[in-house]
Point group: C2
Chain length 351, copies 2
DNA sequence: TTGAAAGCGATACCAT
DNA sequence: ATGGTATCGCTTTCAA
């Protein structure tokens, strides 16, 4: 069943059949009705996507490229909220969404990259080469949570959120009996270094702030400490590669092993913080009395945990919605930074 | 940059360039290396997907059609786990995934349906007409959580899980002082009727068991009650249209309003049960002492709630993995029913 | 091993 | 308002 065969059967031109589907104003209502009716009867359900796309150069699909594998992102509550926001905006515009992994890409994968009309990049793709490829297509691109020169970007105010969180924590536990305590606060960081292993950042080279949101968060932490006259030694800042439960557990165990034991843990994601919470509990530590714990993101589970988690709220859903709107109408938008907000809950509620 | 222009620049045939990408054995290693190198230099990143797909009739994409909108499914923990499973299997095979909404579809949407090489249908599509359209394409289809004649299907044992859950609940609260109590248990059901409004099923026409997994669960509940000599009156079985928080709250409020108040709530999803939990709490009811609550699915939040939620575990992740494997190799698979298992936790832990 | 050419299914220009 | 036809970029058969 092709458009052509339909045209022959009805003894009209292919153009008319095509127009019946795509440009109702180009033919009489009568003819259009007849064509559409016959198509339904013969089981022709409309133009083939590949052919139409080849001819028009458009696909009606927005590509959402994730930083790494799809499976990983389906485990990340922030990514899920983000995708939900994108889906919501796109649904409204009757546009479709192709999820693309940002890992190493074979030739077959690369062919995929030619499908979408525009791209939302959720974080810098693991495979750095895709960036150049996408740019060479000259299609709209929106970078989320990072920046690409000469393209729209959408970020959140990591610095401010981190600053507020750290300010709160340091002012609670940064001094002991009025004297500065440089061992009071440890950080469970995420992707601060270019390594898989969990370790402190002491003596290592950090990612720069322009490529790593974690680095920005760390800078926020540090600034708050400094402004309060406190210190945040590198030897108390831990790096993890993934935000997965196991990494959080391992890093939290190491962090809480330090002598003297830190009185607070600043975590760079709620997932890490939740894992830390469970480590603290299993070590018989009271939260927040023995150790305060603060997260980042404000995923749904943060409110539901016990104790509930103090954290930095970021508007993941709204970020997704906006990213979709931006990429659909790039000319009507500017680079944007969405606000974040520190939320005090039980896990840091020291008097 | 097209394959043809590359061929001209290098003074070779288009066939050779194509072969360089697709069939290394069809040309000398030297020539291939030269072609690939020049492509990289000139910024040709491989064949255009639409053209290749038009020509070969394959796309390297698996379509995952959800029952309704994408946004709705990104809110459903089961759907997310399922998609994660699919993504995991597909990642391994270097195949890609196109998420497709199963709601009402415009012509543009219908064009999308011609892209994938095969389809996973996660629940019966809201728009019933897509089923016929997909079938007429003669591509592999796997139906998940429902059945299509002459196509592979993958289900879970809803009946057994529901039976176990209800058996547990009725044997705890089904009799009072040794006499049968037909008001002991209410059901918060999901999509039992073809209506949006929340109501009991008394006097209404239920979906049949072959199109509604909820109906199967209800049948399991009923059978367990019957086997224990108890009753499950239609007037205590509530229907909701969505598994969203608000629906759960509303249905639970109505259910708990019945006089005498039910001693247990059998909910058809954990989302509904969690909402019921919160209703019970806000009414000052103790769970499980005043009212026991049981869910279905065993989403992650079920263990984390307080009290933790008794529920029927279903292997959503594994279901996704298997669905992907089935659709990629339909001949090697048969219709499958995955087991479910009732898990007792605190919300029904009556002695 | 390489090249020429047909054709995948649709669109849109240009005639009529 | 309708029809004829070149063309989108690529794959693949067949011949050289």
């Amino acid at each position: 069943m092709t458009l052509k065969s339909i045209a022959q059967r009805l003894d009209v031109s292919t153009a008319s059949v095509s127009n019946a589907f795509n440009r109702p104003d180009q033919l009489s209502a009568d003819l259009r009705a007849r064509i559409l009716k016959e198509c339904a009867r013969l089981g022709y359900h409309g133009p083939n996507h590949a052919a139409r796309s080849l001819r028009t150069g458009k696909s009606g699909i927005v590509g959402v490229m994730l930083a790494d594998s799809l499976a990983y992102n389906f485990k990340d509550p922030c990514a899920i909220e983000f995708m939900r926001g994108v889906a919501e905006s796109l649904d409204n515009q009757r546009v479709n969404l192709l999820l693309m992994p940002g890992g190493e890409s074979s030739f077959d994968q690369q062919a995929l990259e030619t499908i979408p009309d525009c791209f939302i990049l959720y974080g810098p793709p693991n495979d750095r080469s895709v960036l150049g490829r996408l740019q060479s297509q000259h299609k709209p691109i929106v970078a989320v949570d990072f920046t690409i020169p000469n393209h729209l970007s959408l970020n959140i105010d990591n610095y401010q959120g981190a600053y507020e969180a750290a300010h709160h924590v340091f002012s609670k536990v940064g001094t002991v009996d009025g004297t500065l305590d440089s061992t009071a606060v440890a950080v469970v960081g995420l992707r601060l270094l270019d390594q898989q292993a969990i370790s402190t950042i002491a003596g290592r080279t950090l990612f720069e702030a322009d490529v790593s949101i974690s680095r920005v968060r760390l800078d926020g932490f540090r600034a708050a400490a400094r402004d309060l006259g406190c210190a945040l030694p590198d030897s108390l800042v831990w790096h993890t590669h993934d935000s997965a439960w196991n990494d959080g557990v391992e890093a939290a165990e190491l962090a809480l092993q330090t002598q003297p034991r830190p009185r607070a843990l600043l975590c760079m994601s709620d997932q890490l913080a939740l894992a830390a919470l469970s480590v603290a509990r299993s070590q018989g530590l009271r939260v927040p009395e023995d150790v305060a714990i603060v997260g980042f993101d404000d995923i749904p589970a943060a409110q539901q945990s016990h104790p509930s988690l103090s954290t930095v709220y970021q508007p993941s859903l709204e970020k997704g919605r906006l990213a979709a709107r931006m990429v659909m109408a790039p000319d009507k938008h500017h680079n944007t930074v969405l606000p974040t907000k520190f939320i005090v809950r039980e896990s840091s509620a020291l008097k």
